[in-house]
Amino acid sequence: MEYLSSIILIAISAALINNFVLYYFVGICPFLGVSRRVDMAFGMGCAVTFVISIAAFLSWVLTAFVLRPGAPLASWVWQRLSPGSEGVADLSILNYLVYIFVIASSVQFVEMYLRKFYPPLYKSFGIYLPLITTNCAILFACLEIMKHVSGVPAAEMWDLGRALALAFFGGVGFTLAIVLMAGMREDLELCDVPRALRGPAIALIVSGILAMAFMGFTGVDRNLAALLR
């Protein structure tokens, strides 16, 4: 029950309260670039959610078992190489290299999968599919997981469930924001926007108002935590 409540809290926090786009400002480039039509935005959101989950899974596994200070696999190899030494095996300096590698590979894998099984979808994505590699949201999810797995005492370390909850619902929050934005921009195209503000400028101002709306969720996690306790 406590585990479930912590998963719910992480999910709501990642999707609504600390929304990746509207609070942490990650994933802004596709948010501004792809959000002109609702169906494209939804497709992009789903693709990002998919990639973020795969990348989070791989990052968690690699961080927990290989990269963090005192990780099992690294320690085992270290014991073989210099038995009886005092030092702790710590490969965490390689974290960022490994994560970006994992993300690039995940995107590559998704690309190959789509090209083989859903060619029309693959074609409609065009250039935007490989650009998911530079989507800050995915690396951000990996970094958040790293924060709770690497350098943290064993009792507080996040397990795979929490990491996946963060990643998946972060992607859901991203999808929510991008679809809302697309809906608003579809309507904005029919409005009389001043010439200087047309394009990304008005999109940013509207996002600001959307971010203000999402600020209404502040504090929901604390009260929910008190309720679930």
Partner: protein, 217 residues
């Protein structure tokens, strides 16, 4: 203001824009924030104070210069399929270095910048400069390009951070510039303030450029 392209008429030996051109282009004509619209994530996230904004600009300068130099040195060896991967690995390595340097020498600032320093890895500015300039031109040109683009980025960050910090906290670089009676517009240091400030400033830049265009032609 004379266009940078006509001012520095020499091209570099590899046929692309010269070092001086690259440098000047990066500051205003191809400003990463307002013209290319790259690197939006730190532009919105880090600009609630001038100090963190300038630290981030310094970190980006370091990574951009190092990455450009590295890519320019190995530009003859790059294969088309794997070059993006090579760029990304290079950038990730230098970002790790700058992250560690910040944690070692500016610990409080590094905690404030948080996850946004490693996010420099996926900052489109750096990958785009590697692709457009460093992979094709010599080291001095690449360095000039990196410095110019970083200055442009710093300019963009400073413009937004100034507005947000002065209106949102009444300070600039942490020093009070508005009288204590000023009711701080807290919304400015919160996420909505970032979006709205950038949107309005972008609109302002577009308006100014449009006026200059009609004044000329």
């Amino acid at each position: 203001m004379p266009d940078a392209r006509t001012a520095a008429a020499e091209t570099s030996s590899d046929g692309g824009p010269s070092a001086a051109e690259r440098f000047l282009n990066g500051i205003l004509p191809e400003n990463p924030t307002y013209r290319q619209m790259l690197g939006m994530c730190p532009t919105l996230a880090i600009t609630n104070g001038m100090r963190s904004a300038m630290t981030m600009a310094g970190a980006v300068l370091f990574v951009l210069v190092c990455a450009n130099v590295m890519v320019s040195l190995i530009r003859g060896l790059l294969k088309p399929h794997l070059r993006i991967l090579v760029f990304t690995l290079t950038i990730a390595a230098f970002v790790t270095i700058v992250d560690r340097l910040l944690a070692a020498y500016m610990y409080a600032m590094s905690k404030q910048l948080g996850p946004y320093v490693p996010l420099i890895i996926v900052n489109c500015i750096i990958i785009s400069r590697c692709e457009v300039c460093a992979a094709k031109q010599s080291v001095p040109t690449a360095i000039a390009d990196a410095v110019g683009q970083s200055l442009g980025f710093a300019l963009g960050l400073a413009s937004i951070a100034t507005v947000r910090e002065i209106l949102g906290a009444g300070t600039w670089f942490g020093l009070p510039v508005l009288p204590a009676a000023w009711p701080a517009w807290v919304i400015m240091v919160l996420p909505p303030g970032a979006f709205i400030t950038l949107g309005l400033l972008m609109g302002g830049v577009n308006w100014f450029l449009a006026r200059r265009q009609t004044a000329r032609g």
